[in-house]
Symmetry: C2
């Protein structure tokens, strides 16, 4: 891969462009908002505007609901030989691309598992993807050249390419990213009803639990809407267990300390213990991702 | 205050003892588990065993359900002139103490707002309370000497004393600490059902959301049980909004992208936006803001 274009110079698109610049490739930068593309270019992420002849790979870095239409548009405009995207949801956009008549031999869906609460080109970091998984979801029609180029893109960005089926990817991110985001948002929303004196008692625990809830509401509506089925499934299981916990708490609240029902205590302990175990299943971060944390000064979300 | 004892040399008790040692006071260390007291002493937290004559202040550092009985026991044993505790729940233990016939003129409830996921004396840190709020919940019967000594204890530990009524404290921590803990546990528990390949996609976001879920299940059962009413209330509101979100997701899942109901999108965006706003209400913790609070002479929450 010798040439590239980035369509959509937000946080992710600009971070990819910066990473490519660091590897000797100068991407062409396009955005519906010309100001965003100019800002990215001023940050050293590439040059504004479309190339005269097709580049090797174009990265469509837009919200999930816009991927298919922009892929179609840029394939018709002959922006690149091959195409990928970076959306957090893969099955729906790929189906839409097929329905719109996109050339799927020259398209491979992708999702770099990195992000920040901040958005826009000014939040971009060339090392955002260091040591992170970068999921590739090639359809059965994807050509070998396209798959190879998207894999190379991930590697040039310092990420670790991981092959998955689109539906498999979507169920995975529902569990490890989208549901956690919604739960953090619901929790943070409770704080709107708190008094100032209550919030003064907040500590690092609350800050950490709600950190990802600071993400852009419009973008996350798009992501969650595009993965609604898988997220609703995880969230429904979550809600069922939550109901059990509320029942147990009501049972404990109704009785004085000495007579609190052992069954309610046990139900609480069981959930808390499973939480300890589930937490233990999260892979320990790699030295590469630690390095990224150190450099960015702000933890990356997935 | 010239002398002190700590009953219960776990994470918090030992951290307090270490802080007092740093200020020239050598606490007497007691624990039902002699091994824990010896470990704390070996860490330099004080000397094992009861004093020959009463110390100025004894700190009861045990789970909420044990506070009243141990306060009663140590008042009868004449361990100290004045007493405090450090439990995360205040109203219940104080009522129990009254019911057991404890001398409430010589007792002031306290709660240093600091902790770690690890427990036990080996996790203790003398600077654990630096810059943190330390809530004092004196009853109407509390003597001025006792209040003054507990306030001094908080200051010796580098914390910021904040006066609150017990019920006010319990509702505040239900919102900013206990409910977040339970929600993090419920979320982490979902990961038990995930496949290895799904968990490999986890990033810093998931690590942060679930960090506090690693806390000891038995201790947290005790805390949540002791504050069941207030936690159930916040959690019920959380569950209602969660239900709205699941409905919205199901609405979005049922329709193709172009025809997704705007009302469902809007409901999602509303929750996410309120999450962003709620998150924004958490005070930023900086040495400067701590200093400002101190100088203003208006302890938040008082």
């Amino acid at each position: 891969m010798r040439s590239a274009a980035v369509v959509g110079t937000g946080l992710i698109g600009t971070s990819i462009a910066l990473a490519l610049r660091g590897r000797g490739i100068t991407p062409y930068l396009l955005d519906v908002n010309p100001e965003a593309a100019r800002t990215a270019a001023e940050l050293g992420a590439g040059v504004v505007g479309a190339p005269r002849s097709p580049v090797d790979l174009a990265v469509i870095a837009v919200p999930p609901s816009r991927v298919a239409s922009i892929l179609r548009e840029q394939q018709l405009a002959n922006l690149a030989h091959d195409f990928t995207d970076v959306a957090s949801v893969k099955a729906g956009p790929q189906e839409e691309a097929a329905a719109l008549g996109c050339d799927l031999t020259r398209y491979v869906g992708g999702h770099p598992m990195a992000g920040r609460e901040q958005s826009g080109p000014l939040a971009a970091q060339g090392d955002l993807f260091h040591g992170r998984p970068w999921v590739l979801t090639p359809s059965s029609r994807a050509g070998g050249r396209a798959v190879g180029r998207v894999r190379t893109l991930a590697e040039l960005c310092g990420a670790r390419p991981v092959l998955m089926a689109p539906g498999q990817h979507d169920r995975a991110v529902a569990l490890v990213s989208h549901t956690p985001h919604l739960v953090a948002s619901l929790l943070a929303a409770r704080l709107l009803h708190g008094e100032e004196s209550q919030l003064q008692l907040a500590g690092q625990g609350l800050r950490d639990v709600t950190r990802i809830a600071a993400g852009e509401a419009e973008l996350w509506t798009d992501i969650l809407g595009a993965n609604a089925t898988a997220v609703a499934e995880v969230l429904t299981e979550f809600a069922e267990e939550l109901g059990t916990v509320v029942d147990a708490l009501r049972g404990l609240a109704a009785d004085p300390p000495g007579r609190r029902p052992a069954a309610d205590r046990d139900r609480l302990t069981a959930v808390l213990s499973r939480g300890v175990q589930g937490r233990g299943r999260i892979p320990v971060r790699t030295p590469a991702s630690d390095e990224q944390l150190r450099l960015s000064g702000a933890p990356a979300g997935a």
